[in-house]
Symmetry: C2
Subunit: 286 residues, 2 copies
C-alpha cells in the first residue's frame, strides 16, 4: 500500500481515528514533536527523541520510545520515497484514555499518533531574504512545571497567532506576563549584541526547541561563539545587532524587520549566516 500525504497512523493503525475519550482530546493531556524529514530520515531525531521522553517523563506519561520509532518506520514504509525527500513528521503522544476527571489512571496506555506531511513552501526564501515579524500583544503565562515542554496545551500560541493575518508577517514574537521576551509563536529566538549570541531563558515559559538546543550545545561551540542564556527584554531585542528565529522544520530565519510601536530594521549578519551554513552542514552529515 502506498499512502498519499498526509499519511497518519494512530497506535500503528493507518487512518485510525482517535477516541473522544482520549485525554489528548478532552484535556490536551500530552506532548508532540514536529520534525523535519530529509530523504526518509529525521536528521535531528536524537534531539527530538530526548525531548519527547523528557516531556513525557515530566508529565508522567509512560511513553516507550522504541514503539514510537517502530510506528514511524512502519508509516515511512507505506509512503512513496519521493514524498519523503523533504517532509514533516509530527508525533503526538497523549496519556490515552481513562481516569475520572483530571485524575490519572495508572493503567492508562498512551496514544501514539504519527503523521507525515508535505513541507510548507515558504522556508527557503525566508532563510535567504529574512523575515518581517511583529510583537504580539498576548502575553505567555509563567509556569515552571510546564515551561520548556512541547505539550498539547497551545491555546496561548493560537491566540497569539490569531492576532494577524498579513502574510507579509512571518512570525509573531511573544513576551511573558513579566514582559520578558520568550519566543515566537512557533520558533525560538536568538540575537547578537557586541559579538555575543543571546537567547531567552525558558525556565518560566516557552517551548525549548530542538534546533535551539542544537545551536546552544553544538553549532555555537563549533563556531567558537560566546553564548548567554538569560532574561531578555524587548529593548534588548530592538537594540540587538542581528536577530534570527529557528525551529527544526524551517531552520534559521534572519529577522530583518520588527513591527512593534515603530518599525525597526535589522541587517542579516555574519553570525546568522555562519549558523545557517553550519546547520546545513550538520543536517547533511546525519
Amino acid at each position: 500500500m502506498t499512502l498519499k500525504l498526509p499519511a497518519i497512523a494512530v497506535n500503528g493503525i493507518i487512518n485510525q481515528q482517535v477516541s473522544p475519550l482520549d485525554r489528548g482530546f478532552t484535556y490536551g493531556d500530552g506532548v508532540f514533536e514536529t520534525c523535519r524529514m530529509i530523504d526518509a530520515k529525521i536528521p535531528l531525531w536524537n534531539l527530538h527523541s530526548q525531548r519527547l521522553q523528557k516531556s513525557c517523563h515530566q508529565l508522567m506519561i509512560p511513553v516507550v520510545i522504541e514503539l514510537v520509532e517502530s510506528y514511524i518506520a512502519q508509516l515511512i514504509a507505506c509512503v512513496s520515497s519521493r514524498d519523503l525527500t523533504d517532509a514533516v513528521v509530527k508525533i503526538i503522544v497523549t496519556r490515552g484514555q481513562g481516569g475520572r476527571g483530571y485524575r490519572i489512571a495508572t493503567e492508562a496506555q498512551p496514544t501514539l499518533c504519527i503523521g507525515i506531511f508535505s513541507p510548507a513552501k515558504y522556508a527557503e526564501n525566508y532563510a535567504d531574504a529574512g523575515i518581517s515579524v511583529r510583537m504580539c500583544s498576548h502575553r505567555l503565562s509563567c509556569n515552571k512545571a510546564l515551561a520548556g515542554l512541547k505539550h498539547l496545551n497551545r491555546l496561548e500560541h493560537i491566540l497569539a497567532r490569531a492576532e494577524w493575518n498579513d502574510d507579509a508577517i512571518a512570525e509573531g514574537l511573544l513576551l511573558d506576563s513579566n514582559n520578558y521576551l520568550i519566543e515566537a509563536t512557533a520558533s525560538n529566538i536568538f540575537c547578537t549584541k557586541n559579538g555575543i549570541l543571546l537567547t531567552p531563558d525558558l525556565t518560566e515559559a516557552g517551548v525549548a526547541g530542538v534546533l535551539r538546543r542544537l545551536i546552544i550545545e553544538d553549532l555555537s561551540p563549533k563556531l567558537g561563539l560566546t553564548l548567554q542564556i538569560k532574561k531578555l527584554t524587548l529593548n534588548d531585542l530592538l537594540t540587538a545587532d542581528e536577530i534570527f528565529l529557528c525551529n527544526s522544520v524551517n531552520g534559521i530565519w534572519p529577522v530583518v524587520n520588527i513591527s512593534s510601536q515603530h518599525e525597526t530594521q535589522f541587517h542579516i549578519g555574519k553570525t546568522t549566516r555562519l549558523l545557517q551554513q553550519e546547520l546545513q552542514h550538520e543536517l547533511q552529515k546525519k
Copy 2:
C-alpha cells in the same frame, strides 16, 4: 436503538471517533461543559449554554448553540430514560480541523462532541458529611485571556490532581503564581467570614463555574447574603468560619478539614446548609 452509558456522539453521529487532525486533539483548541442531568433535563442548561457561547466567542470558535442542543436531544432519545434519571452530560466544542500550525482557518467547522455518563457515586455523602481537602503545591498560571474559561488546556489541573492518591482527600485547593487562592481542581470555592460570603476573583486564573455563578447571582441574593468577590489568600481561608466547594455536577460540598502545613478543622455552618437547601430547591424547580 438504546445505548448504554457512556453514550457518545461526535457531530451527531453515535460512536463516531475524532480525527487526529482535530485541533482539540492537536492543541487542546476548544472548550467544554460538564452538566448534571436530572430526569433527562439539564436544570442549569441556561447557564451552561451562556458560558459555552461566551467561551467560544472569546476563543473565536463559531459554535451554533442550537446545533449543540439538537445533538444533545438526539443523544438523549437514544438512551433509556432510567439511565437519565441522574446522569452527567459532557459537551466538548473544538475548533475542528484546518489551519496551518497554530493559525486558525476561517473555514473551520467546529467539532461538537456530546457524551452522557453515569454519575460518580460519592456525591451525596460528601454533601452531608463534608470533605477533607489538601493544598496543592502546583500553582495556576495567570492569564487574563484564558481566565474564567472552561477550555481544553487542562495540564495544570491534571498535574495538581496528580499530587495525591489518598481517596480520603476529596479535592485539592489551588493558589495562583501570586499565591492567591483560586479554586479546587474541579470545583470553585467559597468561604464565610463574619457573616460575609467570599469567593476568589477569577480575572487572572481559574474556571468560572456555572454553580459559582448561580450562587453569586441567584441563590445568595435570594437568601439575603452579603457577597464579595475578591482576592483571597490562604490565610483568609484558614481563618474563615465556613468553607465549601461547588460544581454543577456535585453541588455544594462543605469542607471540614484542610491539610496544608498543618491540619485545620472547620464546622459545617448555617450559610452552607442554607445554600445547599436553596440549590436543591432551585434544581427541583427547573
